[in-house]
Amino acid sequence: MHVAVIDTALDPLAEVQRYQGAQPHLQGQVGATAIFIGSMRDFNQDQTVVRMELEHYPGMTEHYLQKIAQQALQQWPIADLLILHRVGIIIPNDPIVVVAVWSAHRAAAYAANRFLMEDLKSHAPFWKKETLDNHHSRWVEKNTPA
């Protein structure tokens, strides 16, 4: 299991592949891999967004991600999981978060993945500040609905 906050460019699928390749216990045991990638869109609340700054609470954020990762491992029969989340300055189309879950069967992989994303979006201490095409910037006050 691995969770991390990343302050440089994130290549989600390469990271998933690299992590999986380094886990011998996943080879042959895993029938299901569920991956979710959240990316930055170029619009929000009907306005064009040109850039975004992602802030976090160093220490608490990692601690919180560890906690929900442990919870997922206890709650579902899953073999492993990976959570990576960007911070710092990003532009539209950049990946923000990747959650990958490996399990023998698909139901657990889907369910644990969804749980991790919902909980992360509701509670993990990250904050987005958007810069619009008119140069104004604003804090995102709540996440868009699912």
């Binding site: 609470y57 220490g59 608490m60 992360l120 509670h123 201490p125 904050w127 709540k142 996440n143």
Partner: protein, 77 residues
């Protein structure tokens, strides 16, 4: 005998401070810390708080050496 206090995101910008220190003798609860640092004028509504990296409520007790943090609703993912 101090409590470390941290502010994040919009709150940090609006209050104009990222961190400060409160004497442990001046604050028994998270709410006391808030009042001491921010005063009554700033609404607590929509402010989340943590002690030592764990979510807590404004009524939770604080003690010497704690790190108390205040921040707006989170918007990650």
């Amino acid at each position: 005998m101090t409590i470390q206090v941290r502010f994040f995101a919009r709150l940090r910008e609006q209050l104009g401070m990222a961190e400060t220190v409160v004497s442990a003798s001046q604050a028994h609860t998270v709410g006391d810390v808030w009042l001491y640092c921010v005063g009554q004028t700033y609404p607590r509504h929509n402010v989340l708080c943590a002690i030592n990296l764990e979510y807590v409520g404004f009524d939770d007790p604080v003690k010497d050496g704690d790190e108390v943090a205040f921040f707006p609703p989170v918007t990650g993912g």
